[in-house]
Structure formats: structure tokens, C-alpha cells
């Protein structure tokens, strides 16, 4: 195993955005991805709350990694994550009560988002705070982009609106299924299909030419 670079690189950020995107590549954090993407506003609020928890936990785990004994590291990470989630929950309710009401129980469920524990265990516990913060930002950005994409498609087709603004007019009959749980699976499935198809198309000429 080669020693990881110790300085911050752009790749620390970009990796989470695209190549190791938490949702469409690593398939992590699917519960909130499917559950709250029925409107763009919900998707954005969930992305913001998750980003807060991700940044906080990655930073703290990386700062405390030498103090936390290996045997109790997962317990400690979960404790750190749960603390940030509780804070996010209270801060959301105090700052934007309407959004908090919309997200309902899903803010509390950020605790069990594997993406966050995954970043703590596989990155923040092995790297310095600067790189861990960059990694968290990248992962949060990747998560946000997917949530925006899914919630945009679902709100547009399911309600004919975007961020509550009427886009498709009154003559459009909303596809109600899109705002229901099956709509989440369908949209995510189509997105995964397109991404897989694109990756395959890009890979085939590359393997033939032996490049890449």
C-alpha cells in the first residue's frame, strides 16, 4: 500500500463530486436520496443538512483520530455524527421551520447515512483535517448534485413545478407516481442506466486502443 499524499489536492474535492460520487457510483446514502427528492426544496434542504454533518464529522474525526482508540472508533464516529445531526435538526427548526416540517423524520435519519460513516472511516480517520474537509466538500457537492437532479426531474414531472413555481402549466397532467416512492426508484434507475451506458461507451474505444 502506497502512502497517501499528505497535501491537499484538487482531486480530494473532485473525487467525491464525480468519479467516486457517493450516490451514483458508491450507491451510498440512498435512503434520503429516494425519500426526500420529491421536491427540489426538500432535496436542497436535505443536501444542506447532510453537508453540515459531513463537514463537521469529517473535520472532527480527522482532528481526533490519534486520540480515539481503534477498538471504539466506530462507536466514536457514530457519536460524533449523531451529535452533528441533532445540532442540524435543532438549527433547522430554529432557522427554517417550514423546511424542517417538510423533511420530517429524515433529518434524524442522516445518522444512518452510510455515506457519512463511510467518509469518516475510509478517509477522515487516515488523513489530516484539510484534506478531510476537502473530501467532505467534494462528497457533499456530489450528493447535492444528484439530489438536485433527481428532485428536479421528480418535481417537474410529478407536480409540473420547480421550486414551487409552475413550469408546465395547467394543461400538464402531473405524473403522480413521480412524487411517490416508486418515482424515486424509477428516476434513480434511469439516471444509473444513463451513467452506466455512458461509462461503457467511453470505456470501449479506450480498451480497444489500449489507452486511458
Amino acid at each position: 500500500m502506497t502512502a497517501p499524499p499528505t497535501t491537499m489536492t484538487v482531486d480530494d474535492f473532485l473525487r467525491g463530486v464525480w468519479r467516486e460520487n457517493p450516490v451514483v457510483v458508491q450507491m451510498l446514502g440512498l435512503c434520503p436520496t429516494l425519500a426526500v427528492t420529491n421536491t427540489v426544496a426538500n432535496g436542497l434542504a436535505m443536501a444542506a443538512a447532510t453537508a453540515f454533518v459531513l463537514l463537521g464529522s469529517n473535520l472532527l474525526v480527522s482532528l481526533l483520530k490519534k486520540l480515539i482508540p481503534h477498538e471504539v472508533r466506530i462507536t466514536s464516529y457514530v457519536l460524533i455524527i449523531a451529535t452533528f445531526v441533532t445540532l442540524a435538526d435543532m438549527l433547522l427548526e430554529a432557522a427554517v421551520p417550514a423546511v424542517h416540517k417538510q423533511l420530517g423524520p429524515f433529518v434524524a435519519l442522516i445518522v444512518v447515512n452510510c455515506m457519512i460513516l463511510g467518509r469518516a472511516e475510509s478517509f477522515a480517520s487516515r488523513n489530516g483535517p484539510g484534506r478531510s474537509l476537502l473530501d467532505a466538500m467534494g462528497t457533499a457537492t456530489g450528493f447535492t448534485l444528484v439530489l438536485l437532479l433527481l428532485s428536479g426531474v421528480r418535481e417537474l414531472l410529478g407536480s409540473g413545478t420547480l421550486l414551487g413555481i409552475d413550469i408546465l402549466g395547467t394543461r400538464f397532467e402531473p405524473w403522480v407516481i413521480m412524487v411517490l416512492p416508486p418515482g424515486g426508484f424509477l428516476t434513480l434507475g434511469v439516471v444509473m442506466l444513463l451513467i452506466g451506458w455512458r461509462a461503457e461507451r467511453r470505456a470501449s474505444p479506450a480498451t480497444a486502443g489500449g489507452a486511458r
Binding site: 420530517g104 423524520p105 403522480v176
Partner: protein, 218 residues
Amino acid sequence: MSAVATPPPPTAPAAVPAWRLLATLGFAGALAGGLIVTVFRATLPRIEAHRAEVMEAAVREVLHQPARWDTLYLVDGALTSAPAPDVDRRRLERTFLGYTDQGALVGAAVTAGEPGFSDVITVMFGIEPATGRLLGMTILGHKETPGLGDKIEQPPFTPQFDGAEVPLRGVKAAPKPPHEVQTITGATISSRTVVTIVNHAAARWQPLVQAYLQGVGP
């Protein structure tokens, strides 16, 4: 005894003493607890103020902007405007009696909740205690399906309650006033639940308010 020498065990990483594990977790737990309590205390006033605002706005809405209102608390099966001082008022069920600026009674604002499709739906409605005529209805809280069940808090469903009379019946089409309201296509359970909540709460609170009004006199 076997003559074969067993290889020495691989050097295990130095075992962390149990007290250090306990101390780490104990310290982390205390830190987390302290942080949570601090933020809880810092955000609580805003959260409570917001809840009060929501409640106040709802009372204004369902009682048609009354000039003033009294808060009545339910203590031992009867309504009173002044519960004993040692009782925590926040734990008591309550209703609000709205008055015009001439002092005439507008109606009572009642809050109630029952399980809907996903979770408990909480509604507030205004009712004339003498006639059972509703003045309005608003949803205080719900977790119904976005795009379907959440239509219970929007027109054309909500305005139907203004002027309707209990007992209500939810019908799929062509509601006949004053006792029928039209349920929402695709959200039958959610909209029926709202109708049921209003019926149950009206049946419970209407006599309580009437008894209170007779007690205090006209």
C-alpha cells in the same frame, strides 16, 4: 508433549487498556451531551416563539380575524380560563374563544389530531358552539404524501370547511352543503381523516364550550 516448537505469536498491537476505552467514550459522550444541551437551550426560545406564532396565525385564520381571544384550559373535564397556578399550562389541552371588538362571541378554535395515512394529522378549526357551524379549518401539522396527501392543506379542500356544519361527511363528488365536503382524489384517506378529526373534536369540544359559556353567563 510435542517436540515441534510453535512459532511465536505475531506481535499484537499493544492492547489498549479498558479504562482508556471507557474514558474516551465517556469523554466523547459528555462532550456531545454538553454541545447538544447548549444548542438546545440556544435554539429553544426561537423554536417556541415560532410555534406560538404558528398557533396565533391559525387562530386568526379559523376565527376570521377576531379582535381578541381568550385561552381556555381543560382541567378535570371542564374548561377554565384560570387553571390552578401550580399546573403547567403547556401540558393542558386548550381551546381559544374569539370575540369581535363589540364583545360578541365569534366561535371557538379547537385543535385536534388523529393518525392519517402516514402519521398524525393535526388540524385547527373554528366552530360556533351553539350551531355547530364551522368557520374555517387549517392543518397545523402532517406528514402525508407530498403531491397527494398534502393537498389537505390547500384549496379547494380547505375552504369547504368555512360554513360547513358538523357532523360532516366526506364524499367523492358533488358535495351537498352544509354537511358534505368533497374528498381529494388520490388522497382519500388523508382527506377523510381530516373530516373524522373535525367530527370527533367537534363532538367533544362543542358541549365543553357550551357548558363553559352557560357557566360564565351571556
